[in-house]
């Protein structure tokens, strides 16, 4: 099991989501974050004084997957989030020791296997 954390451009979230769902990766958590990478600071002006925006808006995704899904997930994110410009983001893959599904108490790979909700259209 791996925990995949991706930092992407906010405007690429829709593309990444579509790619992940197409790859049958449907469990994810997202957050709005700010970060500093290789990009230049954005300079604005307020009443004649410069205003430096050094941190850029990003979206962070956290996805826990079982081994067969690791490469699929990484590829889906990397392909969908790429623009080729500085600031596309990063993907971090870490070892995951233990997972528990709170509702059922299932653990590890069982907990990561998606459950289709009855009657879901």
């Amino acid at each position: 099991m791996k925990l995949i954390t991706a930092i992407i451009r906010p405007e690429k979230l829709e593309d990444v989501k579509v790619a992940l769902f197409a790859a049958e990766v449907e469990g994810l958590t997202i957050q709005q974050v700010s970060g500093h990478g290789g990009e230049k600071a954005v300079v604005e002006s307020y009443r004649g004084h410069p205003l430096l925006y050094e941190f850029h808006d990003k979206v962070r995704l956290d996805i826990a997957v079982s081994e067969p899904f690791v490469q699929v997930t990484v590829k889906a994110i990397a392909d969908a989030a790429r623009t080729g410009q500085v600031g596309d983001g990063k993907i971090f893959v870490q070892q995951l020791d233990h997972v528990v599904r709170i509702r059922t108490g299932e653990s590890d790979v069982e907990a990561l296997t998606p459950v289709t909700v009855a009657g879901k259209t």
């Binding site: 002006s45 009443r47 004084h49």
Partner: protein, 535 residues
């Protein structure tokens, strides 16, 4: 079939209704409403000349009352404009506090003005009711030294608490109009001093400002005081002329802002090693809305200052006001575009307001091209002044009040002395029969009177407000603590924040005293009120 029948019946009935409305209509065009039958007379429809004269006179005065009061209502709405503009230019953590300053500048100010401010200002200006609304004849106790047989008024002495001789319809109309002007002057410093001003200090300032500082200068200019009689007694044009208050209101507010800023000091973080930093306001659309509301209210401010709807110069006043504000907005828009590569929204707002402040004194006396020129100069001046105040004077004015109201108040008073074209204002302030005439149209005396007015405003308002702020600072302190300032004044000076939802959801408000339990009554009786949390 059934449906069709029903529809036809309904349409028929509607048609019948519409035609009957037209047939039974009384006077839909309005051509026959109002006429000789409406003139009060002993013999209906046949008034005598005296009765017609009385009706015409009362109608003129009624029109002037309605005009003056409606204008005052518009000006009162400007307080909403000030509140929104100032709060938009400041940070979210101080929003409720800044709004509170604006509201209580009215609440406290009106009580102070009612108690004695109005008497000091207008208590010596009483005269017979003429074409414009004026204080009643009984309110004519003007106090001041007598030099060369003429009384040089310094302060009025009747009309306290709107009672006695001032319990009079004209006095009340004048009170309302002058009160909203006073409120405008008082609320200007609330923007400049926002985000670190203690409410207790502000409270004392508002009471003294509304009772003494503002009314005394307003007496000199508008209450029959010595500045207004410079023309009558010293032959300087028409004396100090300030149609709607570039000096009386805006310069007064600007000067009080400067002295307050000197005593109060900059916000924490404004200057890093002496270099001014940007502290962006939290809501520019709010500031824009405030600007629009101010511009709307300004029609009451300027055109209302004729105090007479029968004075048709009101169209010239209103158009000049609009032209100058547009020119001010244009110039600040283009100047900041050129200077900072892109137009600055908050400076453009300041530019529109600067045009309005500058045209406020000369609005009734200048041509349309002059109004555009005055507004244009204001739009450039305000950008330069805002940077000068922050970078050179090191005064931290979050909203640009000193640049907008102070510098452009000065410019407006001078502009009248330069551009007044002599077509209007004959007999103004008891001066010459010719209209008010500026330097460029041949009367240097008018400019001299304007400069004397400026100087006396700087001396009187500057000295008294500086003394007031110093005394407040020594007695109770002007400024909140550094901790309170960093946390936001919404969390210490007022009892609730403006935006309770803007903190993370884990710190949403919780019940300190628990709501009554739904369980049986005896259990509820044992509930002890929880101790007040936090501080």
């Amino acid at each position: 079939m059934d449906h069709k029948k029903r529809l036809i019946t309904i349409l028929f009935l509607l048609g019948l209704l519409a035609t009957s409305w037209a047939l039974l209509a009384a006077d839909p065009s309005g051509a026959n409403t109002g006429g000789i039958a409406n003139v009060p007379s002993k013999v209906a429809g046949k008034p005598t000349l005296e009765e017609i004269g009385a009706a015409v006179g009362q109608t003129r005065v009624s029109l002037n009352f309605v005009w003056t009061l409606s204008a005052a209502f518009l000006i009162w709405f400007m307080q909403a404009g000030f509140a929104l503009a100032e709060t938009g230019f400041t940070r979210a953590k101080n929003a409720a506090h800044t709004m509170m300053l604006n509201m209580m500048a009215f609440g406290l100010g009106v009580i102070a003005f009612w108690a004695c401010g109005f008497a000091f200002q207008m208590g010596g200006s009483g005269s017979a009711m003429g074409s414009a609304v004026s204080a009643p004849e009984g309110m004519s106790k003007l106090l001041g030294p007598t030099i060369g047989g003429n009384v040089w008024g310094l302060v009025g002495g009747t009309g306290f608490f709107l009672s006695g001789v001032s319990y009079d319809v004209a006095a009340f109309a004048i009170f309302l109009f002058q009160m909203v002007f006073m409120d405008t002057a008082l609320t200007i410093p609330t923007g400049a001093l926002s985000e670190r001003w203690k409410l207790s200090a502000f409270t004392v300032y508002t009471l003294v400002g509304g009772a003494v500082i503002y009314p005394i200068f307003a007496n000199w200019a508008w209450g029959g005081g010595w500045l207004s009689t410079l023309g009558k007694y010293a032959h300087l044009g028409h004396g100090y002329v300030d149609f709607a208050g570039s000096g009386v209101i805006h310069l007064t507010g600007g000067v009080m802002s400067v002295t307050g800023l000197i005593v109060l000091g900059p916000r924490i973080g404004k200057y890093a090693k002496g270099v001014a930093q940007a502290i962006p306001g939290h809501n520019l659309p709010m500031a824009f809305l405030g600007c629009f509301i101010l511009a709307f209210g300004w029609f009451g401010f300027n055109a209302g200052s004729t105090l007479a709807g029968t004075d048709l110069r009101i169209s010239v006043v209103a158009v000049n006001t609009m032209l100058a504000s547009g020119a001010g907005a244009c110039l600040s828009y283009f100047v900041t575009w050129w200077k900072f590569k892109r137009p600055d929204p908050s400076m453009s707002i300041n530019g529109l307001l600067a045009g309005l402040v500058a045209i406020t004194a000369p609005c009734a006396f200048v041509t349309a091209p002059a109004a555009v020129l005055i507004g244009s100069i204001a739009g450039v001046l305000v950008v330069w002044a805002a940077l000068f105040v922050e970078n050179k004077l090191k005064l931290d004015d979050p909203v640009g009040a000193v640049a907008v109201h102070g510098f452009n108040g000065v410019w407006g008073v001078i502009a009248l002395g330069l551009f007044a074209d002599g077509t209007y204002g004959g007999g103004f302030n008891g001066g010459p029969e010719a209209g008010v005439t500026g330097l460029f149209y041949g009367d240097a005396g008018q400019l001299a009177a304007q400069l004397i007015g400026l100087g006396s405003n700087l001396v009187w308002v500057g000295a008294t407000s500086f003394a007031l702020f110093k005394v407040i600072d020594l007695a109770i302190g002007m400024r909140v603590t550094a901790e309170q300032e960093l946390q936001g004044l919404d969390y210490s000076e007022v009892s609730a924040p403006a935006y309770s939802g803007d903190r993370p959801s884990i710190s949403t408000p919780v019940f300190v005293t628990r709501p009554p339990a739904p369980a049986p009554a005896p259990a509820a009786a044992t509930l002890k009120p929880a101790p007040a949390g936090g501080k």
